[in-house]
């Protein structure tokens, strides 16, 4: 006997077997988002058949359920499961958006769906200091929230690196769960599925399309109470997630960047428009009325203290300039900075530039 109710199986059929194209999928989401009684579901299924490819595809309720069972059997084999609008643990926040996905295909720890969720995103290329900061924030937040993010490099990767050790991580994919995209992160995806949860609106074997990122971003925003943007260019796709979050009434946080830095122009724009300025996890936790746990103090040598003071003073600087400021030879500065880097207080920014990190 199937672990899914008949209604759930019909939703799975709609999402996985009906052969919907992207447009039909989003119109279905909008229809179902308003909430539908079980008898209306039957009508929707029938309508899908009539508009199905060439209009020749006919099927009745029994054969639909059979097809859904076949899809479920295949998912079982790959240790995937589906959570539909009819499921009790379908995330409430996601249900509240105008166009919730009718089914979420998942692999990993199901109970993460019920946890409080917070999203961290950022463009694929972000400055090293932003990556380090994002990683630290993700690590700290993952003790209280399930961290929601994508699976690309850059911002997603920072969030994954920070949250993966705790396992409180939900990665929303832009294609089928068994599709390796980006190919280089195939092993990472498997690890997330083992320790955390991977989620997709698309049935297995769905290839990644350009527009699927757009649709995926609404899930990122929809799942979460708030979104932190680590870095975004002026026209970055990351801003889509932020805008969605705003329209869903979720909180938007952004890391401040240097004025004029192209990679952070989007973040600064968000802050101008009223997003919360965030420099550490405390800013986010405070918003949700949570106490920050005190970080243990790192012990620093006098040379490190001097260098850290110079670095914080300058914010960012070349090893030679910092050496001059601290009054030590460049190689000594280089050594001290490396040790600060190991202690997580500084990051290398390329071209022998270093930036201060907030601990």
């Amino acid at each position: 006997m199937s672990a899914y109710t008949e209604e759930e199986r019909l939703f799975i059929w709609l999402a996985a077997c009906a052969g919907l194209d992207d447009r039909a999928r989003s119109s279905l989401s909008r229809t179902c988002g308003r909430g539908i009684p079980p008898e209306a579901l039957e009508k929707i299924c029938a309508a899908v058949v009539q508009t199905g490819e060439g209009g020749v595809y006919k099927s009745d309720r029994a054969s639909r359920l059979r097809e859904a069972d076949a899809a479920i059997a295949h998912m079982d084999k790959l240790r995937c499961f589906a959570v539909t609008l009819a499921s009790a643990d379908y995330p409430a926040a996601l249900r509240a958006i105008p166009d919730p996905p009718v089914a979420l295909f998942c692999a990993g720890r199901r109970k993460l769906l019920a946890a409080r969720k917070f999203c961290i995103v950022g463009s694929r290329k972000l400055p090293p200091w932003a990556r380090e900061t994002g990683k630290t924030i993700a690590a700290e937040l993952s003790a209280r929230f399930a961290l929601v993010t994508g699976i690309a490099e850059g911002g997603d990767r920072a969030a994954i690196d920070g949250a993966l050790p705790s396992g409180n991580l939900i990665s929303v994919l832009p294609g089928g769960l068994d599709v390796d995209y980006p190919a280089a992160h195939a092993a990472l995806k498997r690890e997330i599925a083992k320790k955390g949860l991977i989620v997709s609106e698309y049935p297995l074997r769905t290839r990644v399309q350009k527009y699927s990122f757009h649709a995926r971003n609404r899930i990122l925003a929809g799942l979460s109470e708030g979104v932190l943007v680590l870095a975004a260019g002026e026209r970055s796709g990351t801003l889509i997630t932020a805008n969605r979050a705003l329209s869903y009434g979720r909180d938007v946080f952004a890391l401040p960047h240097n004025a004029g830095a192209a990679q952070g122009a989007g973040c600064n724009e968000l802050i101008k428009q009223g997003a919360y300025l965030c420099t550490d996890a405390g800013d986010i936790l405070a918003m949700y009325g949570m106490e920050r746990r005190r970080a243990e103090d790192v012990s620093l040598t006098p040379a490190e203290q001097t260098m850290l003071a110079c670095l914080r003073d300058a914010g960012e600087g070349h090893a030679a300039a910092l050496a001059a400021a601290a009054g030590v030879p460049v190689w000594e500065a280089q050594a001290t900075l490396a040790s600060l880097e190991i202690k997580g207080l500084a990051a290398r920014a390329g071209g022998n530039q270093y930036t201060a990190l907030k601990h």
Binding site: A184, H318, A335, I342, A349, N352
Partner: protein
């Protein structure tokens, strides 16, 4: 009558004695060569015939057989001409009373009887001397090279006729006076650290690299002076010793790239183009096995500009010589070992467009492109490069500033001090520099304090270092401590060494 004359063949860098036996007997005129000569040796027939005729000597009529013994090694090249001519003359009784016993004849003949220079003379002389020969007749054009072999009588000749008159006692030739070796500073096309503006980090890395014999990778945007920095490397390297110079000269002599000086008195700086094949890099060739670029760079610098542009196989082939300091090239004819203890210096851009990580320029490469670009250099090769540093974009002010930078000479003094500390330390280990340390030496000379050990452990975990990378960091720390004339490796030294492992933080 049968005549026997001694000549030498080259196998790799070793000379092998070859006896040229000539028999002239009555019969139908014929001229045969046996004993595994290759095409160039067989052609010596015609050169020798013309050279004898044009030196107002008599080419014997009758059945001539020339044999090269031992018959089982392949003889190549034109270095046998003089020996063949002398043995022919002796066999045809034109050198009556001449003493040819114990003399090694080397040289190629021109049709007019002139003696031409040969490649690989010095390694032959060194081998022959070790095997007990002390008298040599060599081409006058090779005299400078030959003069560095002390303790032997070496007679330079410029024609066959002169050789004959000398052998008959009609003309005296002064044996070469042994040349004194004077190491020369690398001219390096005018390169000097004094002219490198800015780049404090890269300069320091250069100093450490040379002081400990470490390999160096310079990463930076185009036009920031990576090549210029690399060209300065030989100018800060310690002076050549005579033994080193002889070893290097042997290789260059075999390759036929020896200059007019006759000895390599400055450290080689080789810059093979990125189209170089594995054979060009490591040595080989279908007939004679020739030394490759890595052997020609022995004792000096092998500079690979734009590292990711090189084909994968020549780069991977560097891995073993980088560890062992020699390369064994095997061919069907046998295998030859060439020394290849060089310092590897490579340069590359951070990404295909060159602007990744730049503070003021925007990189237009996708992450996948950058990964593909970096992946061209394999992890194992990167692991063998101890120092990986970023070269900065130099500001216009720094470029035009008149501030005098530390010159190569000053840096070389520091390097020499560090090297002398190492030579004392490794007196009994049989190695020369920190980079050559094995596990045993690491355990003996690279003990860390508790604090240093803790830093290294944190770096190891944070940067996901390999075991080899850990050893490399220890070696670089040792060199940094040596530059500071510090007996013990301090935590700061470890930190600095860690800061030069850029490659591990790139992902």
């Amino acid at each position: 009558m049968i005549a026997k004359i001694v000549c030498y063949a080259l196998q790799g860098l070793e000379g092998v004695p070859v006896e040229v036996e000539t028999d002239v007997s009555k019969g139908i005129p014929a001229y045969e060569m046996v004993g595994l000569p290759d095409a160039a040796v067989k052609e010596s027939k015609e050169r020798v015939r013309s050279a004898i005729k044009n030196s107002a000597l008599l080419f014997p009529m009758g059945k001539i057989t020339v044999n090269f013994a031992p018959a089982d090694i392949r003889k190549e090249g034109a270095a046998f001409d003089l020996a063949v001519a002398v043995s022919l003359l002796k066999a045809s009784e034109q050198l009556v009373g001449a003493d040819t016993h114990g003399i090694v004849f080397l040289g190629e003949l021109a049709l007019d009887g002139a003696v031409r220079p040969i490649a690989g003379l010095l390694p032959i002389l060194i081998s022959a001397k070790a095997q007990g020969y002390t008298r040599f007749v060599v081409p006058a054009a090779n005299a400078k090279e030959a003069a560095y072999l002390g303790g032997a009588q070496i007679y330079p000749v410029s024609t066959l006729a002169e050789t004959v008159r000398f052998l008959l006692g009609a003309e005296a030739i002064m044996p070469l006076a042994p040349e004194q070796f004077v190491p020369r500073l690398h001219a390096g096309q005018g390169a000097d650290l004094r002219y490198v503006k800015g780049q404090p980090v890269a300069r320091r890395a250069l100093e450490i690299a040379v002081a400990g014999g470490h390999n160096l990778l310079l990463v930076g945007p185009p036009g920031t002076g990576k090549t210029m920095l690399a060209r300065c490397l030989p100018t800060v390297m310690p002076d050549l010793t005579f033994e080193e110079a002889l070893e290097i000269t042997k290789i260059h002599s075999v390759a036929g790239t020896l200059g007019e000086d006759g000895i390599v008195s400055e450290r080689p700086f080789r810059t093979p183009h990125h189209t170089a094949t594995t054979v060009a890099m490591c040595g080989g060739g279908n007939r004679a096995v020739h030394p490759g670029e890595i052997s020609l760079a022995h004792g000096g610098v092998l500079f690979l500009d734009e590292l990711p542009e090189y084909k994968r196989s020549p780069l991977e082939a560097l891995r073993q010589p980088l560890e062992d300091g020699k390369i064994t090239v095997s061919r069907s004819a046998g295998s030859v070992t060439f020394p290849a203890r060089f310092m590897l210096c490579a340069s590359m851009n951070p990404c295909p467009c060159g602007n990744y990580g730049s503070a003021d320029k925007v990189c237009t490469c996708s992450p996948a492109e950058i990964r593909r670009y970096r992946k061209k250099i394999s992890g194992p090769l990167l692991d063998r490069i101890d120092l990986q540093v970023e070269v900065d974009n130099v500001s216009y002010d720094a470029l035009t500033s008149d501030r005098e930078q530390e010159s190569s000479e000053r840096v070389r003094e520091c390097v020499n001090v560090a090297r002398s500390i190492q030579s004392v330390r490794f007196e009994e280990s049989g190695i020369r520099t920190n980079s050559e340390m094995g596990e045993r030496e690491l355990a003996a000379f690279c003990r860390l304090s508790e604090e240093g050990e803790r830093i290294l452990r944190e770096a190891f975990e944070r940067m996901k270092l390999s075991a080899r990378a850990r050893a490399r960091i220890l070696k670089v720390s040792r060199t940094i401590a040596d530059l500071a004339a510090c007996e013990e490796i301090l935590p700061a030294h470890v930190c600095e060494a860690v800061s030069y492992r850029l490659g591990d933080s790139l992902d």
